[in-house]
Each structure stands twice: as C-alpha cells, then as structure tokens.
C-alpha cells in the first residue's frame, strides 16, 4: 500500500506544480513594486528648488492640513508627458500638486514644462535619488496622495489617466 502511494507521489507533486504554473500564467507578474510607505507618514526629505521662481519641496510642506499629490517625474521620461494634461486638469479643479524631479537638470526641466505646461506648486530636484528611495518609489511616473497630516494615503504607479481622476480627486477631498 505504501509502495503504491509512493509511486503516485511524483504524479501528485508534478500536478501541484503545474497547477501553480497555471495560476502564475493566469495572473502574470505585473512587474509593479509597490511602496511599503503607504499608510505611513511621509519620510524626511529635502529636495532643493529645481528652477528659479518655484520653491523646492520638503517633508515640512506636507503637514499644513491640506491633502496633496506628490508626483515623481522626470523631463526625460516619455510617459510623463502624457500625464501632464491630467495633472493640469486636477490642478484646475483645485488639487495641489508637488513634483519631485528624478535625475534631472534645471535646463531640461524648464524646456519640458514650457512645452507641456506646469501643474506643480513646488518642484524639488531629487539629488541622487534620495527622496525617491525614501518614498519607496521604483520609477517614473508615480503619484502619491498625501493627506493633510503628512501621511501617505495611496500610491499610483504609472501614468495618471482619465479613469484615475475621480479616485484621486476623492482622496484629495476635492469635488469633481
């Protein structure tokens, strides 16, 4: 009896393995590395001003009682261009958006914003990816929702699209 069971054991193991493969195929890896900072206070960071006439961003700016979006972007990032109109619309509806530019330079940023529009209240230039790592952000663009007390409520990975607008506005407490 035991011998019989042992003989069918490999079959059972392989069947289990294949079930797992099947599950893996049905749910392909989304390649998304979510930040572990969601639900936690915004970490300490200081990102100096990126260009004249617009202030930089730091942790202290995020606890003035007003919820904000924190947009991680870069002038060299192609998809970021797509989401600027969305961000401009969010801003028109009263959302406050602060930007953190990754691996960027003032000159490039100025060109980028002149061409696409500037939805940002503040733009901080992230030196050496320090702020990005502190947020647990894995790429650009990413958008964090930070509440009035400075707590990270939500992380949106990738381009902000039409469908994401109501959700973001609701979290910001702005009526659509």
């Amino acid at each position: 009896m035991t011998r019989k069971l042992i003989l069918w054991l490999p079959f059972a193991l392989i069947a289990l393995l294949f079930l797992a493969f099947f599950a893996g195929l049905m749910r392909p890896d989304d390649h998304v590395i979510a930040s572990q900072m969601v639900g936690k206070p915004l970490p300490e960071f200081v990102a100096g001003p990126a260009m004249p006439g617009q202030p930089g961003a730091a942790t202290a700016d995020f606890s003035d009682g007003k919820p904000r979006l924190l947009n991680v972007f870069a002038s060299w990032c192609v998809p970021c261009v797509q989401e600027i109109p969305m961000l401009l619309r969010l801003r028109a509806k009263g959302a406050e958006i602060d930007g953190i530019a990754i691996h960027d330079s003032s000159a490039e940023l100025e060109k980028f914003l002149a061409a696409n529009g500037n939805p940002y209240t503040r733009i901080g230039l992230d030196e050496g990816g320090k702020a990005q790592m502190a947020f647990g952000s894995a790429g650009v663009p990413e958008t964090f929702v930070v509440d009035g007390t400075g707590k990270i409520l939500y992380q949106h990975i990738g381009v902000v699209t039409e469908e994401d607008m109501p959700k973001l506005l609701a979290m910001l407490g702005v009526k659509p």
């Binding site: 003989l7 069947a15 797992a20 493969f21 099947f22 599950a23 390649h31």
Partner: protein, 654 residues
C-alpha cells in the same frame, strides 16, 4: 517561396510524427507486428523533413527576407552574417524549430544505430519520440509559426545586442541538444515501461544517450556561464537567475541519472528509481524550456514572452509528464525491485549521491519556483537569490564532493570501512595540507570558500586514486573518463572558491594619466577614443597595465552604444594570466574628463570553466569508451554473451 517550402516541410514532418505514433500503437497494441518494420523509414523521413524546414528558416534569415514576420521583427540586414544565421534561433519560434529539429535527428539516430534493445522496446521508444515531436509540431504550427509572412507593419527590433555574440551561435543549440538527449532517455524509459522491459539491457541502451545529453548540458552551462561573465560586464559568472537555474535543474537530474543508470546496467539495481529519474530529467528540461519561453519568471536573460504560448507549452508538458508519471505509477509495480545492496558499497555511495543531487535539485526548484507559487497564492512578492542558494545548496554540494572522493574507491556489493579509509589516506592528507596552508597564508576568508578549497584538494587527489596501482594500458577508457570528470569537479570548485575568497575589486573614476591599483596591477588611463562598429558606436578606453611594476601592456575595454534597439553594452577587456584574470570595464557615466572604470582581479577564476571543460571531456571519453566497446562486442557476436558479464574491470561511475 523558401518560407512556404519550409512550412510545407514542417506540416509533412508533423504528419510523419503522427504516423510514427500510430505505427507504434498498432504494432504494440493491436499486435500487428509487420507494421513495426515501417517505423525506421518513417522516423528517418521525419528527421529529413524537419531538417529541411530548419534549413529554410536559416535561409530566409541569411537572405534577410523582410517579408517574413519573424525576420522583420528580429533581424536586421546590417548585422554580420554569423548573427543573421544565429538570429534564426535567437527568437522564440526559431528556437522551438531548432528544438524539434534536433529531436528529429535524435530519433533518426536511435532508429539507425540502436541494436541492443529488444525490438518491441525500440518500437515503443520511437513511437514515444514521435509523440513528443508531434506536440511540438502542433505548438509550432498552431501558435508560433516561424514562417508566417508579414501582414501588418511591425516595428523592426533587431537582435538584442547582448545576444549579438558568437556565444548565441553555439549556446542555445548546445543546451537544446542536451534537452533533446534527455527526451531520448525519456522515450527509452517510456518504451521500457510500455513493453515491461526495465533491466540492464534497457539501461545499456539508454546510457550513451544520457551521457551524450549530459555532455551537451555540461558544455552548455559552462559556456553559458562564461558568456554571461564576459558580456554582462560586471564580473559575475553565475547569478542564480531563473534562466540559469532552468538549465541547472536538468543537469542535476541528468547527473543523478547518469550515476543511477550505472547501477542498473552493472548491478541491475535501482530499476524503478532510474526510470523515475529519466522521466524527471526530461521533465526538468521541459520545465526549463517552459520557464524561459513563457516569461512566467523575470530574468536577466529574458526573451520576448507571450502568456498564451505558455498555456500551450504547459498543456503539452502536462500531457507528457503527467502521462509518463501515471504510466510509471501504474506499471512500475510489475517491475521487480532489482538487487539490494550493503551500507558500505559503491551502490550505496551512488544511491546517496542520487539522494543529495535530488535534494540540491529540490533546493534549486524551491528557490526558483516558490516565489512564483507564493505570489500566485497570497500575492506576496519575495526574491530568492544567491544568499539562499549558496547557503543551502553550498554545504550539500560539499558533502556530495566528499562522497565523490570516496565513491570510486569503494567496491561493488560490499566493502570494509577500514580499507576504504586506507585507500582514502592520500586524499585526506591532501585536504588536511590544504587546510593548514590556507590557515597560514590564506588570510581572512569565508567558511564556505575555505571548505570549498579543502574539499577541492581532497577530491583532486582522490579522483586520481582509481588509477593507482593499475595497469594504465588495460584500464578501460570510461574509467579514465570518470577520473577526468571527477577531477574536473575538483578544479571547478577550486575556481569558484578562489573567486569567492580572493577576488580584488576596485571601481574608480579616472582622468587621463591617472593610475589606480587593483590586486597586483597598476592601471593607467592613457585616453578614451571613439570607434565606429558595424552596427554600434564604441567608446574605447586605452589603458596601460603593469603587474608588480613589470613591463606595461595595453588593455582596451569598450562601451557599445546600439541604436536599434537602443541599448548600451559593456565590452570588458579581459586578460588571462596563469593565475587568474584581470577584468576591466568602462562605465557609462562620464563628464568628458573623468571616466568610470570597474576593475577586478580574479585569481584562478578560469579554473571554473576549465573544470567544466574537463567534466565534459571526461563525459566524452566515457561515451567513446562505451560506444567503442558496444561496437566491439557487436562485431564479434560470439564474444558478446560471455564478454559482457565476464568483464573483469570494475566499472567507473560513468
């Protein structure tokens, strides 16, 4: 036209494979013995047709026929001819066609040259080969037609620059030859199960195939490791990456099988286990192909991926492997157990070898697949990499190596522990000497590298011991093969341990005429210049290197900037010395005056691949010895009956 001819050949080859399966079923199931005689010609025709299909694919790639979808999407007329040809199997469809081509040729070889096996078992084996091929033909024809014409515009991609390397021309075909060899072993096992013929004859017929497949896998892994080492440009030679693990898993199973089949052929023991391993080794090579092809795991070496194809391959695998294991469970009960063995005997050592190899296989599988299973079930993402594999598989491998030292010195059936220790004495002495030397001169090195070096010394001496006090002229070739392969293990482990223990690294930012040091070398940057390549722009650093103040010599690492597709690759400058390699790469960022250089001095690292080559060469000698003896025995049939059993030479493990 060539593409259509290829597609037609592929359809016809598929029909032949179906025919093979039907012939087998009719001859064995319905007792129409006469039909069996058609099997060999049909198998040969299938091989010829699929070879024609492959030749057509190579032709369309060589001519850069941009009306073929596959060529348009993965080739580029500007590439050198070698890469154009190699590009035909550098993509999903082409590599599957290559796979099934090698399978067809393997089937033809069995049909032509296998003479030892009982006729019905041979018939069943060829039918099983046909069944495997049929699945792959279906896969090619229905979901990945390599000859499809271009209908819409596709973005021409060019071949991934990392793959534009002579390595591509040889690496995948080598690994595939290994995988296909395992499929032959699988077919033999299925044939033996179907015809209830699991014994030493079957083992003898299967053994050259296992040996051949194992040689290819060894060469493939060794060459792949060196390829990754010099193309990726970071000095690493093994990353425990899923794709690498996918090639390691069948190798581990094949190594176990190679040793267990020896017990079956020589002592008629381990019948069920050997059949099980044959199925397992093939399963592992298929699972490996599946993992790489389906894109289910993320990897450095990833190709383009498509989940629908994944489902198709998975279904095929489920049928083959599930079917074979069900057949195993249902039939193996009728196979008698075979000979038992004593605790201290060569059989026991080989069984423990199999046990440890299997456990290492489980470690590699768990580390590779568990993250996938965890994510599918709970959504939690974890990564398993070098720290896990090294700490869990490393000690097991060291135990295995100690066993490897002792195994060939044991007698079959039963042996006395005292005598074994006596025979092991020189080896144990060598290990102790190595430990002493390392303690005095080695400096601070980790536990695992230290043990690795000690065990390497022990195994190196022990591996030669089977030749001790023997008439070297009368020693059979396969014993030399075993000695060489085991020595190769020692050499390879020594290289790995040296790399872990003694590598010196220095990453620097240099301006012209700056000098920096790494290990015993002083590296001076003379300048950086641009050089145009055939399909890339190169930035080349001109360095003057001197060892311990000796005469300077030039080294020129390059950075290649490809535009189609956009990608930058490092072309390392590697200088090989008798005691190691100096490995220099030029980094990407620079401000025009300062350049980033990564420098490694890797003492004795070449031993890793020399060891791999020795292992493969040992396999080659064994194969030659086996085949020569088989031919010898067949030539004088009257010697055959007595000759095999009365062979006085104690057989080697391989």
């Amino acid at each position: 036209m060539i593409a259509e001819a290829g597609l037609a050949a592929l359809w016809l080859a598929a029909a032949m494979a179906l025919f093979q399966l039907a012939l087998g079923a009719l001859a064995l199931g319905r007792g129409r013995q006469s039909l069996g005689s058609a099997m060999v010609p049909v198998t040969l025709v299938q091989a010829a047709l699929v070879s024609i299909a492959m030749a057509c694919l190579i032709a369309v790639f060589a001519r850069s026929d941009m009306s073929v979808l596959l060529v348009a999407s993965s080739s580029n007329p500007a590439m050198p001819m070698l890469y154009k040809v190699a590009g035909s199997w550098g993509n999903h469809e082409g590599s599957m066609l290559l796979w099934v081509t090698i399978l067809g040729i393997a089937g033809a070889t069995i049909a032509l040259f296998e003479s030892k096996l009982r006729a019905d078992t041979k018939l069943a084996t060829l039918a099983a080969q046909g069944a495997i091929a049929l699945g792959f033909y279906a896969f090619l024809l229905f979901s990945s037609n390599p000859f499809a014409r271009l209908t819409d515009m596709v973005e021409p991609q060019g071949l991934n620059p990392l793959l534009q390397d002579p390595g591509l021309a040889f690496h995948p075909p080598t690994l595939y030859a290994g995988y296909v060899g395992m499929s032959a072993a699988f077919s033999f096992a299925v044939g033996a199960l179907v015809t209830r013929n699991v014994g030493s004859d079957f083992a003898g017929a299967m053994r050259p195939w296992i040996l051949g497949a194992w040689i290819f896998l060894t060469v493939g892994i060794t060459a792949g490791s060196y390829w990754a080492y010099y193309t990726l440009g970071w000095g690493g030679w093994w990353f425990w990456d899923p794709v690498e693990n996918a090639s390691l898993m069948p190798w581990l199973a094949a190594t176990a099988l190679l040793h267990s089949v020896t017990v079956l052929a020589t002592r008629d023991g381990l019948r069920a286990w050997t059949v099980m391993l044959a199925v397992l080794a093939f399963s592992m090579s298929m699972v490996g192909t599946f993992l790489v092809r389906s894109g289910i795991l993320t990897s450095v070496h990833s190709f383009a991926v498509d989940p629908r194809r994944g489902i198709f391959i998975l279904a095929l695998l489920a049928i083959y492997i599930g079917g074979a294991l069900a057949l195993f469970a249902a039939r193996i009960g009728t196979v008698t157990e075979g000979n038992r063995f004593d605790m201290v005997s060569r059989e026991a050592a080989l069984v423990v070898n199999n046990l440890i190899l299997t456990v290492i296989l489980v470690v590699v599988m768990a580390g590779t697949l568990y993250p996938l299973i965890l994510e599918a079930t709970t959504g939690a993402k974890i990564s398993v990499g070098a720290p896990y594999f090294n700490s869990v598989a490393g000690p097991l491998a060291l135990i295995l190596l100690v066993l490897l030292a002792a195994g060939p010195l044991l007698r079959w059936r039963a042996d006395l522990p005292k005598l074994v220790v006596e025979r092991m004495a020189p080896a144990l002495f060598a290990g102790a000497a190595a430990l002493l030397l390392l303690a005095i001169f080695g400096g601070r090195i980790g536990v695992l590298p230290l043990l690795g070096l000690v065990v390497a010394a022990l195994v190196a001496v022990a591996s030669l011991a089977p030749l001790w006090k023997r008439n070297l002229k009368r020693t059979p070739l396969f014993t030399y093969g075993m000695v060489l392969a085991h020595l190769g293990c020692a050499v390879s482990i020594a290289g790995m341990a040296c790399d872990a223990a003694f590598t010196r690294e220095n990453m620097v930012s240099m301006a012209a005429n700056d000098t920096r040091e790494v290990g015993p070398f002083a590296v001076t940057l003379l300048g950086v210049r641009e050089r145009p390549g055939p399909n890339y722009q190169a930035l080349e650093a001109v360095l003057s290197v001197s060892r311990n103040g000796g005469a300077p010599f030039p080294m020129m690492p390059q950075l290649h900037q490809f535009s189609d597709p956009q990608m930058t690759t490092n072309e390392a400058a590697i200088d090989t010395f008798i005691d190691g390699q100096l490995y220099l790469t030029l980094g990407e960022d620079s401000d025009g005056t300062h350049f980033l250089l990564r420098m490694w001095w890797k003492p004795f690292i070449t031993l890793i691949w020399i060891g791999g080559a020795l292992i493969a060469a040992g396999g080659g000698l064994s194969l030659l010895g086996r085949v020569r003896r088989d031919v010898w025995n067949n030539r004088w049939p009257w010697q055959k009956a007595g000759g095999r059993k009365a062979d006085p030479a104690p057989e080697g493990a391989a």
